[in-house]
Subunit: 570 residues, 2 copies
């Protein structure tokens, strides 16, 4: 039986309720957004007692179906002021799924000054215990070492870094991967600050005593699982491109489109792209050997293995993973064209517990404001690492590009709804630009990216429709707990619905799933409208409307009327 | 003939148009808000080319009618993201009025990196000239010395400090008083940052060659002027209380009501109130003598003289004026109970060019976050003075309480619409609390203060109506260019309308003026709604709804439905 766990962090009351009916079909983002709309007053303070932070997994979590163990984390965002969901890989969703948990909802707020807590979940039950005092103020790598020593290597962790403890607006929640590395980030929107506001420093999930699950139709489930594997193997994008280059395969594409962020979105093509693209990354990993690995899986059962372990010249791991968005924002967008410097910066962001995207965008804004020249990796690393001691500049940077821009009086700040853009220029990939403006999530590439469509990307015509379709598709994936990468191999999601039915003995249809996913998109817009983020907030930073991207020639030319097709004016 | 001057700061085009019809009646806030609604796209970036900054005076500006020479400054606010008007005394409105100018509208935006400009206006015309290089990065006291040396003592100045140059969100625009002291601040909402974004460092207005004005009905005008003077003289509040204690007369009232902000709005009564109230201030000025003056007029013609010059122990002027809001926010709200320390802090805020209200609130938030203990005046002064060298902490503080709270991960941040509250606790003076939530201006006491009403201030009943009436009344004063203090003496505004008619030969009625003022309030709400600040933004910080003020026993208990009577749900 699948259950939802509800924990009041003020009263310490714990309630465990079964998942029934429709709720069995979708989980993940549809579930976090649905609960938030129904239970959280939209106008509440994100760090106050009325907000909730919700961990939710998809209907196949806990199984070995490839790429089906994403963890959604949702809350009202302290960064955007709107609804937020950010999902990541790692081991937590798998372990929650093995324990039969579809969602964990943290409510209320402990008194100011109460000790940090660890939320511990295993087959015997749920406990809130005082965190070991040595956890406070240290990075997530050290935190995870302490926690594994205490709870054993079979535990899966979700935790916050010093940025979360300081409730910075770009603090993330990270999960450990199969090797126990705590770097699978739900990085966007400041969810780490919300977890901190609940007094929770880490969630420890131990599934070692979980009973073996009996599928409703074991044979059908096994057949479906094999079919997913076969599709991944038969699709070059998943079995070759992603496995070899991971997400960084994207860089040469965006660089060619003039869509790579370069020096605070002032250009779309980077003169050092060849030093930081997928091939450069792959070659460095292979040549250096040692602990390096170009094809690393971030969760149990994954056959795509788009993650990697990036080694230094000495072969020792520097960071895992090193991904396209981090390279784009911490690299080219800061004028930094050196993978080693970017990897160190990425590791520092991970360790401090901040979103690499918003942090990279913030550093570039600070560079444009004159705090350091573009390309100054030393400044960037010092700014990030200063979070641990609460340096004010570091807190500003860790509060994201929007806040950094305001503090430094800047006009060119690449955000939408207060959140920095991912590594796609909205003038050069206009469909993604439409998503940045219209998604309830803010400037989030994972909310509906159109970069891989075979269309003229700077052409306005048709892009609102493309974005609408992409947003609907990604909501379905996010709500089924699926990795976005799987979409390249599994085109017909009926296969996934069949697996859900084989697991639970249900008879859901893809049409039902799509209807619920569409409703979840509506839920998100409803929440935002009630939070004060209605249609006037559906826009990107003004400079994109006025400055042509010199490399793509694109300009952001969407009007509020253009978006009606997608938003219905709501 | 009254005229409106329109200057495009990008093209340097200057257009001068006559004021006609209805526009002759109201000026000030009704004019700035009307132009903003009609001409500025509400969703624009406040520091970008689409925003405009408008200086507007009332219909009696340039005459010697007491208290009728306020200067309204309006723009889309970088602090709130909504419409903003902030008015102050000083000499600029008088001089603009003498030159026949009802408003000066600055549009467009010069190219990044263009030299700072001085806007010079006299009877011969209007010129934009390069600012002397030594003006950049220095405080307003030094700036005004340089400008008076260059333009002569007959000039009136409006200028920005280093905070404005850095485009901080709480940068104000200050005007010089009759003695040339540059400390009459349109402090709220970051208007100094907007003026800076237009490349303008100072506006110099010289009326020395202005022709003598011929009133349409000189006898009626003189009679009305005398009648205003007689009412001021016959009203103890204006002729005695304000003249002796100025605005600081308010402190003992709010302290008694439990409405004085104390240590980041954690109490409403201050144990050191007796050291900083109106009597303490008056006695210190009288005892110290020297340059001190308890009854100083900030503009030509003023008979109330609520301003003061506060001297140090050596008799030398420390700051002028030292007002209630500054004492409340920089003083009790920071736990500082020493007038000398508060006066130094106030001078530092003036010199840097930041709003004392939002800066005081920000310092208290930083103190609560642990950056310094409450009462640490040295920390506070260093934080403010650091603006001149662009210290990051100082930039954060100068960006106001809302930003400081976000950067420091704080929950208890006393703001509405992103702007910090003035020195009235919204739980203890509930009518003013309603204004904080519902005014388009954010948490602004001058938008409709009900503290002087003879009602039970912690009682909810009737307060929405009280606030509505106060908001309408203040809009009329603001749009007639009148000082709020005059309202205590002149109860029937027909007298003022009569003066307008005597000046221009018109036949306006008070009813017409009230209709236009009501329309201006609608204009402001319309602008905000289009800017994305609709009804969901009509609230105060969450903690006021949850924490009782321990001294008044009041809690903030208004719901969105309660406000419908005032807002009509728009």
């Amino acid at each position: 039986m699948q259950r939802i766990l509800r924990i009041n962090t003020a009263t310490r009351e714990i309630v465990d309720t079964p998942v029934a009916g429709d709720q069995l079909l979708l989980g993940g983002r549809a579930m976090t957004s649905g609960f938030l709309l129904r239970e959280v007053p939209a106008a509440c303070h994100p760090l106050g007692p009325f907000n909730k932070i919700i961990f939710a997994v998809g209907p196949l979590a806990g199984t070995l179906v490839s790429s089906a163990n994403r963890l959604s984390v949702g809350a009202k965002s302290p960064l955007t002021g709107g609804i937020k969901e950010s999902n990541a890989g790692g081991m937590l969703a798998y372990k929650l799924g093995r324990l039969g948990l579809r969602a964990v909802i943290l409510e209320g707020r402990p008194a100011e000054g109460d000790a940090w807590q660890i939320l511990h979940i295993d087959a015997r039950g749920v406990r809130l215990t005082h965190a070991p005092p040595e956890l406070a103020g240290v990075g997530v790598y050290e935190k995870s070492r302490v926690l594994f020593a205490k709870y054993g290597a079979r535990a899966g962790l979700a935790l916050i870094g010093p940025a979360g403890e300081q409730r910075l607006l770009c603090a993330g929640v990270t999960c450990t991967d199969p090797e126990g590395i705590p770097s699978r980030y739900s990085g966007r929107g400041g969810l780490g600050a919300v977890l901190a506001s609940k007094g929770i420093m880490a969630v420890v999930v131990d599934d070692s005593a979980a009973p073996k699950e009996k599928m409703a139709d074991q044979a059908a489930f096994a057949a479906g699982l094999r079919q997913v594997a076969a599709l991944i193997a038969a699709t070059p994008q998943t079995s070759e491109v992603y496995r070899k280059f991971g997400t960084s395969a994207m860089l040469s594409t965006t660089n060619a489109l003039g869509a790579l962020p370069v020096r605070n979105f002032s250009r779309g093509t980077f003169e050092k792209a060849g030093s930081i693209d997928g091939s450069a990354l792959y070659n460095a990993i292979i040549e250096r050997g040692g602990e390096g690995n170009p094809s690393h899986g971030c969760m149990r059962g994954c056959l795509i293995k788009c993650s990697n372990i990036f080694p230094g010249k000495d072969g020792k791991a520097v960071v895992s993973p090193l991904e396209y968005e981090s390279i784009g924002l911490l690299g080219s967008n800061c004028g930094i064209g050196d993978l080693d410097a970017i990897a160190r910066l990425n590791h520092a962001c991970n360790d401090m517990g901040v979103d690499t995207i918003d942090t990279g965008a913030a550093i570039a804004v600070a560079m444009e404001a004159g705090l350091a020249p573009f390309g100054d990796a030393e400044f960037a690393e010092k700014a990030v690492k200063g979070i641990i001691s609460g340096e004010i500049l570091s807190r500003v940077i860790g509060s994201g590009a929007e806040m950094t821009g305001k503090i430094l009086g800047q006009y060119r700040v690449p955000t939408a709804k207060g959140q920095s853009m991912a590594a796609y220029d909205p003038r050069s990939v206009k469909g993604t630009g439409v998503t940045y403006a219209t998604s309830a999530m803010g400037a989030d590439h994972t909310a509906g990216n159109t970069t891989r469509l075979q269309v003229k990307q700077t052409e306005k015509q048709g892009q609102v429709g493309n974005a609408k379709k992409a947003q609907a598709g990604i909501m379905l994936l996010d709500s089924l707990g699926l990795c976005i990468m799987l979409g390249a191999a599994v085109k017909d999601m009926s296969l996934i619905i069949g697996l859900v039915n084989a697991r639970f003995g249900t008879s859901f249809t893809l049409a039902e799933a799509e209807t619920l996913a569409a409703r979840a998109l509506d839920d998100e817009r409803s929440f935002n409208r009630k939070a004060g983020l209605g249609p006037p907030s559906d826009r990107v930073a003004e400079f994109f409307y006025l400055e042509k991207n010199p490399d793509s020639g694109g300009i952001y030319d969407f009007t509020p009327e253009d978006f009606l097709e997608l938003t219905g004016g709501r």
